[in-house]
């Protein structure tokens, strides 16, 4: 069995979940093959723009007509710019069908979107895991906070999450590095919100996967340049490259293969398990088979489900894991692009130093236990910041000349803004399916998206804007302007669902250990497994569930159960 196509475990994908799976599996002594569909990006060496000042970009970081033409999806939001374009998947090579608008922003390379992620890292609360059961919607989570809490401890300690301890039931504290600092205006606003709402609403510093001090193996803390998305030469934020990949490589147990599109999981009817995976080399178009005892699908939400849909179709026409009828269903994201901002009076003699890759966070306060019930269920949080205006501001009283140049060379007034992140419910009819006729450049049938926000999200959005305005006004902010900029599903880049976990194989794709009910040696640990969406950023939960699933898989292997 010891030929070079056979491993103890195969990990599909190298992003946040895949990196964690590889680290945990290799550290437990398994020989692991990690398959990444895109090219390699070497830590530090390949971060071409990590030290590049804005003037070295031909268009100063902006977008050209050619880029807009080439990236019909990416152009819909901030990801399309000149700075890290090579980190985003080509829309042209990897098309999909939108029955309704859905923005799918992907990173196909070593590290996946761990290189470009927003790094905000929050635990889910007991209330989040109980939500479906209490509201009587979708299915109950098979896991409770108590079971996952030690895994949050574990992944936070390794990843390096900075944050403050707040004692909030809706946003549990964790194993944090020292918090970043709120600036002088944010502290004022936080205090006023606390007073006005009698401690029922809180504004805290964001919890972020940026090192505020050195941790073992990572010797440089954040330098406050705030250009994380280019890749950090200091390795000061969590990414596969800075964190999990070096740990996995150190064991000598990891083989990383790039340009490896997994076309299907090879399913063995007799053992009712997976034997391995079939791979299409994205560059040579050659096909390969790799074999293993266990398979971790960490290809990203939708891509892992896409692989399952193409697997074991001789037994289940809709693919491996489809026996419940839930594979591809319950697509979720967070809804955003709305909030409020305004001007701050005073503080003209105060300023900040450095560029903080983080902002403030206002944890959920709506529909908490014992509170007033709104005309929607669940809730939302806000991210935001206060800052002094820079050179891009309007100065109506000056027209042109030296006075204008000098004035814009000084900071302007303070402003404060917050933007909402709302929970989206899991709806069975929000789904992805395989296209019958459209294929990508590798001949694979593309995904069709049929996803929309519904009544609950729309009602919530009214509160998100009104509450933002009210809180800023309560904090004494002037000229408060609020609004809903409109949002497509997908723009949160927090895709979740399509292979949800549950207690019953008739209504879920995975069991509580992230195992596919129909093939227990296949684990899915990216956002596909999520049974509901909470309103907090999900990546930390993927880390925790991945580490827990590996622990389970290895112990089951020892017991010969998988």
């Amino acid at each position: 069995m010891a030929d070079n196509n056979t491993f103890d475990a195969i990990v599909v994908g190298s992003g946040i979940s895949g990196g964690w799976a590889a680290k945990e599996l290799t550290e437990k002594g398994l020989k692991v093959l990690m398959l990444e569909r895109g090219h390699h990006i070497e830590h530090i060496k390949d971060y071409a723009d990590t030290n590049k000042p804005v003037w070295e970009y031909p268009h100063r970081g902006g977008r050209t007509r050619k880029m807009v033409e080439d990236y019909p999806v990416l152009k819909r939001d901030y990801p399309l710019n000149e700075r890290n374009l090579s980190y985003w998947a080509s829309d042209k090579d990897s098309p999909y069908v939108e029955k309704k608008p859905f923005g799918w922003f992907r990173g196909y390379h070593t590290g996946g979107r761990s290189l470009m992620w927003g790094r905000q890292s929050y635990r889910w609360s007991e209330q989040d895991y109980e939500a479906n059961a209490k509201d009587g919607i979708a299915i109950d989570w098979p896991v409770r906070y108590k079971e996952i809490a030690p895994w949050y401890d574990y992944v936070e300690s390794f990843a390096g999450i900075s944050g403050s301890l707040e004692g909030l039931p809706q946003l549990p504290d964790g194993k944090f590095l020292p918090p970043m600092e709120m600036n002088v205006v944010e502290k004022m606003v936080a205090e006023k919100i606390k007073q006005h709402y009698n401690n029922q609403r809180t504004m805290i510093i964001g919890r972020t996967a940026n090192l505020t001090k050195e941790i073992p193996g990572r010797t440089t803390a954040c330098q406050f340049r705030n250009i994380c998305w280019n890749g950090c030469i200091f390795g000061a934020y969590f990414s596969t490259q800075s964190s999990t990949l070096p740990a996995a490589m150190k064991t000598g147990n990891l083989t990383l293969r790039n340009n490896s599109i997994v076309t299907e999981v090879i399913y063995d009817k007799d053992t009712k398990k997976a034997k391995g995976v079939r791979v299409l080399d994205a560059v040579t178009n050659q096909t390969y088979e790799f074999f293993s005892k266990i398979v971790f699908l960490c290809a990203s939400t939708f891509n892992s489900t896409w692989i399952l849909m193409r697997s074991a179709t001789d037994i289940w026409p809709d693919g491996l894991g489809s026996s419940s009828g839930e594979l591809g269903h319950n697509v979720m994201d967070h809804h955003l692009k709305l909030g409020a901002s305004g001007d701050v009076e005073g503080f003209e003699d105060r300023y900040t130093f450095g560029f903080r890759p983080n902002g403030i966070y206002i944890p959920r306060f709506r529909n908490l236990p014992g509170g007033e019930k709104r005309n929607y269920i669940r809730g939302f949080g806000y991210q935001g910041a206060a800052s002094r205006e820079g050179w891009g501001r309007q100065i109506a009283e000056l027209n042109i000349g030296a006075e204008l140049k000098d004035a814009l060379g000084e900071p302007g007034k303070w402003t404060m803004g917050v933007g909402g992140f709302g929970e989206m419910l899991p709806y069975h009819d929000n789904k992805i399916t395989l296209s019958k006729d459209k294929k990508d450049k590798w001949g694979l049938p593309v995904l069709e998206f049929d996803v929309e926000f519904k009544e609950n999200e729309k009602n919530m959005r009214i509160d998100i804007v009104n509450d933002a305005k009210e809180m800023l006004e309560a904090a004494g902010i002037k000229n408060v302007r609020g609004g809903d900029g409109g949002c497509e599903p997908g723009w949160g880049i927090h895709e979740m669902g399509t292979a949800r976990m549950g207690k019953d194989q008739k209504t879920s794709v995975l069991n509580k250990w992230n195992q596919v009910w129909d093939a227990p040696n296949v684990y899915v640990t990216d956002g596909s497994f999520m049974t509901s969406a909470s309103c907090v950023n999900p990546s930390l939960s993927y880390m925790a569930f991945t580490a827990r699933a590996v622990d389970h898989a290895v112990s089951e292997l020892k017991k010969m159960n998988v």
Binding site: V54, R60, N226
Partner: protein, 184 residues
């Protein structure tokens, strides 16, 4: 409107660029930016942001920057509006000072652009959302953007901190201290 003013037809960006090249044309006539265009844009930008104790727009090569941004990033209709704007600046200068912009003294240029900027501000304030921008909006915006994203502008006119190394949320500020800028 734009088509009528130039006697031409507004066509797609790429064809426009490839098909209308005429290096002999006057200011704003050519579809690509020649040396004389860039020299003109430099002088417009320098009038908006003149050299003082800090670098001017010409030091920051803002004319070149404008030509790249307009060519690569602007939609065809905005490119046309920008080119027409170059001509309009020249014509307005002729009307005010009896000669073109390049022949005008710095004082004459300033007088002209101050009046155009007032016209711009008035127009922008009253325009409907779907109305096009006043042409001088492009020149002013590109000058500010080009200057403050240039090496000369950042290093000369702001407190440029490529690697701050720390964050402080409350430091004293006194009038005249420069705005802080970084790599991005």
């Amino acid at each position: 409107m734009v088509a009528a003013a130039t006697g031409g037809v507004v066509i797609g960006g790429e064809f426009f660029l490839a098909g209308c090249k005429n290096p002999e044309a006057g200011v704003g006539e050519s579809a690509t930016f020649g040396e004389s265009d860039i020299a003109f844009l430099d002088e417009v930008a320098e009038t908006i942001f003149p050299k003082t104790s800090t670098p001017g727009a010409k030091d920051a090569k803002v004319g070149q920057y404008m030509s790249v941004m307009v060519t690569d990033c602007y939609e065809a209709k905005d490119q046309q509006a920008f080119r027409d704007g170059m001509k309009k600046i020249n014509e307005a200068c002729d009307k005010m000072h009896k000669h073109g912009f390049m022949k005008a003294s710095p004082e004459q240029r300033k007088e002209l652009l101050v009046s155009l900027d007032k016209e711009r501000a008035e127009y922008q304030k009253n325009k409907k959302k779907e109305d096009p921008n006043h042409y001088f909006q492009y020149f002013k915006q590109l000058t500010i953007m080009g200057y403050f994203t240039s090496k000369e502008g950042r290093e000369g006119a702001t407190n440029y901190q490529p690697v701050p190394g720390r964050y402080q949320g409350d430091i004293p500020y006194k009038k005249g201290d420069k705005v802080q800028t970084g790599l991005s």
